[in-house]
């Protein structure tokens, strides 16, 4: 991944969305370990899947799109 090192060239517009950056890694390393906490661990593929499940469940609640969601884990 290469980024322009000149502050004037780099900007918000030149960078893909975070989901896109994440998916690139998922496509390339789906089986690689992404997160380990306590006894639980997830590969990039599993993390992608599980985060999508949670996102869908939150969207299904139908609350306004700019309303924050709190995470307590």
């Amino acid at each position: 991944m290469h980024l322009s090192s000149s502050p004037s060239e780099a900007g918000l517009d030149g960078v893909p969305a975070f989901e896109e950056l994440f998916r690139r890694v998922v496509r390339a390393h789906a089986d690689a370990l992404a997160v380990a906490s306590g006894t639980r661990s997830l590969s990039y593929g599993q993390l992608d899947e599980e985060s999508a499940v949670l996102a869908r469940a939150v969207m299904a609640l139908g609350c306004p799109h700019d309303q924050p969601v709190a995470v307590l884990t």
Binding site: L3, A32, D66
Partner: protein
């Protein structure tokens, strides 16, 4: 696209609830371990979704696709300390997160396959950035909270996970280094970063021996408002600057500048305000346009000007060096703290009348000192209690390291608090714990004192423990270690390391001490008959109630205290005040045969002190001073006969007796009286034990008939004291001084009132010494001649 608010379960529930409310979130995603907290903070108006249940109910529906998300949309809200006494939310856009995920990954040298040991909370900027940077790099995140598991465990785990990257804060790094054994090397680490507060060359030097030669140390400067702002790298052999490590050179996409008071750039090497000019900053404060406009300014070219609040200087190569803060908000352990938020939390307590919190900065590292004036209407809080109350509401780094109780705050002529006049508090070095017993004792001390860290050279009382805290600590130590620890074990060794040795010695010998006499301090002059102060505890009061007094007297003084028999350990309680007085007088004669004696008594102990003084004097010993702290003289038989006389007079005038005791109070008294014969023989829980002895004491005083004491006396009364002044004048026909305190009966033996009493005692003793020195020597022969 809903912004996420990451809540740190390690934070107090009150604060989480405040953050949730300020964010406006009505949905909380919680795992099972945090379900209860989630429901608690959500109160009635939010839904708690269980992550485990959501994952179990997954269906194979379509993937989430959002059409052309706008980079300006809010993605996360980070809550930090705010000046209005409430946390403030900093809004991070999708654009900022995506950009800084990549930029931070690059500057932290993250690579695919890196294993990141992650100790930082994700609810803050640095933690969130490490997570996103790792996830766009193909690295793995290994999460473990050293606040929960301790430094030692965290280090073992870091080694066993073969972590290659370790992001830290300087204070966390110092804690880890302290816990490392000599020769211990975390050989797999490639990069150790530190962010959030100044990193010093000595920090780098102290961690280097525990890293491989190739490991890079990266200084990382950033903020919630600006994201990652600057970085600096030190390879294993790089020479280090004197003192603090610079913040470094600007992150991608950022221009760092140093401005003067007129917003003009200053020459390189000159100090000024640090500003960031960039298209990549936070979007502002959540639902707070006024505050946003104060700090963020949109410039004509589409960039944003952000005032960081830091003072710094740039060198010719564009390397930024930070010199301090330009505003009230300071950084503690890497977190922004606004002292006014802590003041607000203190002032919300009933027991606090006034509070000022200042940050004392030494070597660029700040610590918080709170100055508190107790409220007069309620029981004066101990420092440990204050700390516990604050810790229930604020995160650990906002709890002041030092809390100083003052009778009043120093103010200047305009009535503002004169900060220069506030007493200085010196920094505390936390010395690492060595033995298992020290670790065990430390765990108890941390709990009782509500402190994050205690070291082996720490003194329990200097950390804010009062007599009640000592009692609680001793009980908990006994419960944890199974060793019966006496008050003397503690008072003779109030420093953690020594105390741990005492407990160990007690465990090994299996001894059990039960004492009435507790040596609070062996004075320097102990062996050559130096001054000794004898303290007599009140009913239901432990001898350690006098520790604050002992601490205030000069070191040449020995201080010994008496407590009720059976207070510690089993013994038949004493039932006659006269018998108690005779026993104490005998013990005192053994301790210090000739005197001169200085007696200090509190509550029933003061009544006892008068009687002991009389016994000592009739026995030929000299009593130089008696100090009576809030005795209820009228509760003794003397008061009873006076009251009976008055009641007879009132009745004879046909009036209702003015101080008739209600039947309810009598019934209560009767209830306690039922268990009283067992006081001391059966050991009750500490609170009940005190109540029992208190009632036993009041009953004993009730039957005791004091006689006037003509010796030199200092006497103190609190607002709980209902004695008519006449009864005191009757009791003290000699030279005496009576002072009134607007506090309660129990608080009077503690800070700040005990300070006044100690000063009075020293004045009085100096006067006595002066008189005897200046008075013409009366030898027996000259006496005979006159």
């Amino acid at each position: 696209m809903r912004p996420v608010v990451v809540l740190d379960p390690a934070m107090p529930v009150d604060r989480l609830a405040t953050i949730l409310e300020l964010s406006g979130a009505t949905t909380v995603l919680a795992d099972r371990a945090n379900e209860v907290v989630g429901r608690d903070i959500g109160r009635a108006h939010s839904t708690v979704l269980l992550v485990e249940e959501m994952l179990a109910e997954r269906s194979d529906s379509v993937a989430v696709e959002v059409s052309a998300p706008d980079p300006a949309w809010a993605a996360a809200i980070l809550f930090t300390s705010g000046s209005s006494g409430r946390p403030k939310g900093v809004v991070w856009s999708r654009g900022l997160i995506a950009f800084d995920a990549m930029a931070t990954a690059e500057r932290l040298h993250l690579r695919t396959g890196d294993r990141v040991a992650m100790p930082l909370p994700i609810s803050f900027a640095a933690g969130l950035l490490v997570v996103v940077a790792a996830l766009v790099s193909g690295a793995s995140l290994h999460l473990r909270d050293p606040r929960r598991v301790g430094s030692r465990d965290f280090l073992r785990w870091t080694a066993s996970e073969r972590a290659t990257l370790l992001p830290t804060t300087p204070s966390l790094l110092r804690g880890l280094v302290r816990a490392m054994e000599e020769g211990e090397v975390l050989a797999d680490l490639r990069v150790v970063s530190a962010c959030g507060e100044p990193l010093f060359s000595r920090d780098v030097n102290s961690v280097r021996p525990h890293l491989s030669r190739d490991c890079l140390i990266v200084g990382w400067f950033g903020s919630s408002e600006g994201g990652s702002l600057a970085f600096i790298d030190y390879a294993g052999n790089d020479e280090l600057p004197d003192g603090a490590i610079p913040a470094g050179t600007a992150n991608l996409g950022r221009t760092l500048a140093v401005w003067d008071g007129d917003d003009k750039p200053v020459a390189s090497g000159t100090a000024g305000s640090v500003v960031v000019i960039s298209r990549i900053t936070a979007s502002g404060y959540w639902r707070d346009p006024a505050r946003t406009n104060e700090r963020f300014t949109a410039l004509a070219d589409g960039t944003t000007l952000l005032r960081t609040g830091d003072i710094g200087q740039l060198d010719d190569s564009g390397c930024l060096r930070l010199l301090g803060r330009s505003e009230a908000a300071i950084k503690i352990g890497g977190y922004f703290v606004d002292p006014s938020e802590i003041e607000a939390a203190l002032l919300a307590l009933d027991s606090v009348a006034e509070a000022v919190v200042v940050a004392v900065t030494e070597d660029l590292a700040a610590r918080l000192v709170a100055y508190v004036v107790p409220a007069q209407g309620s029981r004066t809080p101990s420092v440990a209690q204050l700390r516990a109350s604050i810790a229930a509401k604020l995160p650990g780094w906002m709890v002041p390291t030092h809390i100083v109780l003052l009778p009043t705050l120093p103010r200047n002529e305009r009535g503002k608090v004169d900060r220069a006049q506030l007493p200085h508090v010196s920094a505390r070095q936390v010395e690492p714990l060595l033995t298992v017993m020290e670790e065990e004792i430390a765990s108890v001390w941390r709990g009782v004192l509500a402190m994050d860290e205690v070291g082996r050279f720490d003194d329990f009382l200097s950390l804010g423990g009062d007599s009640l805290a000592v009692e609680e600590m001793l009980i908990r130590v006994e419960a944890l270690t199974g060793v019966a620890v006496s008050t003397s074990d503690f008072t003779e060794a109030p420093v953690l390391g020594e105390f741990a040795q005492r407990v160990e010695a007690a465990r090994d010998s299996g001894r059990r001490t039960s004492t009435v006499t507790v040596t609070l301090r062996h004075g320097d002059g102990h062996n050559d008959g130096g001054p000794a102060v004898i303290c007599i505890a009140g009913a239901g009061e432990s001898a350690i109630a006098f520790l604050p007094l002992a601490a205030l007297l000069p070191e040449s003084f020995s201080v010994v205290a008496f407590q009720a028999r059976g207070f510690e350990g089993r013994a038949v309680a004493e039932w006659s005040l006269e018998r108690m007085a005779r026993r104490r007088a005998r013990s005192i004669r053994q301790l210090q045969p000739a005197g001169p004696h200085i007696l200090v008594g509190h509550s029933m102990g003061a009544i006892l002190a008068v009687r002991i003084a009389q016994l000592l004097e009739s026995d030929g010993a000299e009593v130089s001073l008696v100090v009576l702290i809030d005795p209820f003289v009228n509760e003794t038989a003397v008061g009873r006969s006076r009251r009976a006389r008055r009641r007879r007079q009132e009745r004879s005038r046909g009036e209702r007796p003015s101080d008739e005791v209600g039947w309810r109070a009598l019934l209560l008294k009767a209830k306690v009286t039922l268990v009283l014969p067992f006081a001391g023989v059966l050991q009750f829980r500490p609170g009940r034990q005190q109540v029992l002895f208190f009632h036993q004491g009041t009953l004993i005083s009730h039957w005791h008939r004091p006689t006037p004491w003509a010796g030199r006396t200092l006497a103190y009364r609190t607002r709980d004291n209902m004695d008519p002044i006449g009864v005191w004048e009757w009791l003290l026909p000699g030279e005496h001084q009576v002072r009134d305190f607007a506090c309660d009966h129990h608080s009077v033996v503690r800070d700040p009132y005990i300070g006044v009493i100690a000063a009075d005692i020293l004045d009085e003793l100096a006067m006595i010494a002066g008189n005897s020195a200046s008075a013409p020597t009366r030898s027996p022969s000259s006496g005979a001649a006159s």
